[in-house]
């Protein structure tokens, strides 16, 4: 029997790894990978809470399914934007795409 805390700590650690990836990486695609890690941590949390607290209701499962759909949509649009930026600017490093700054 695995206590709920183990799953929650794992999800929190995965979330913080994703956060580090988003904040510290230069490549825009790597930033999107960090976002995917964070979304995975969220879904692990949802499913763990479902299993441990309310395994007879499906609200949490519907929430998790919608999060799957939203993350897929967000990755598609994000990667399309990255490809489009690469075509126009020739780079995907996040700190070189600064044409709108002072």
């Amino acid at each position: 029997m695995i206590p709920l805390s183990w799953y929650l700590i794992l999800a929190a650690a995965l979330f913080c790894l994703g956060l580090f990836g988003v904040l510290a990486r230069k490549n825009a695609v790597a930033i999107l990978m960090g976002i995917e890690l964070m979304l995975n941590a969220v879904i692990i949390n949802l499913i763990a809470f479902w299993r441990y607290l309310k395994p007879d209701q499906v609200n949490a499962l519907v929430f998790a399914l919608i999060v799957f759909a939203v993350s897929a949509a967000e990755v598609a649009v994000g990667l399309a934007l990255v490809i489009s930026i690469y075509r126009r600017r020739g780079t995907v490093a996040a700190d070189e795409i600064d044409l709108m700054k002072w």
Binding site: C16, K26, N59, L61, A93
Partner: protein, 173 residues
Amino acid sequence: MTPDMILFLVIALVTLAAGFMVVTTPNIVHAALWLILNLFAVAVLYVMLNAGFFAMVQVVVYIGAIAILFIFAIMLTRHAMRDSGPRFNTDWPMAAILGVALLAALIWILSRWQSFMTLPPMLTSDTDILRQLGQALVSPNAFFIPFEIASVLLVAAMIGAIYVAWGKSGGKK
């Protein structure tokens, strides 16, 4: 140490190690492959949580579509199969400290919640949960509207992604 505890520790170790390699490896194609390993380990976690359906959805959606999309995007945005420059920003120590601080804060807050160490209740029959999920997604009293809005979101994302990534030649159509 029951066998499922050992299994959980192994899978959690693989997940966190793969996640760590995703955010630190300099070669971005390797980062995509470590991401695939991470997603696989998370799918195994879903099986351990008696949510086999979500394990399959994870493999089909994340590994079968999103990871392949990542690899395509990486191939299309590299300068002739080379990597470019340092992999981290200049502020990466601050990001590391922020990550560790957030992790510590989350664990501290959760440990003060009274249900933090609950053990899983026994499942009566887990074949009905799929039927309940299906009915909840299409029943008007349940989650029918979020389901439809999610499908509209997917169509909008599809159209948006096609239009944005079309390029200079056919973008005006």
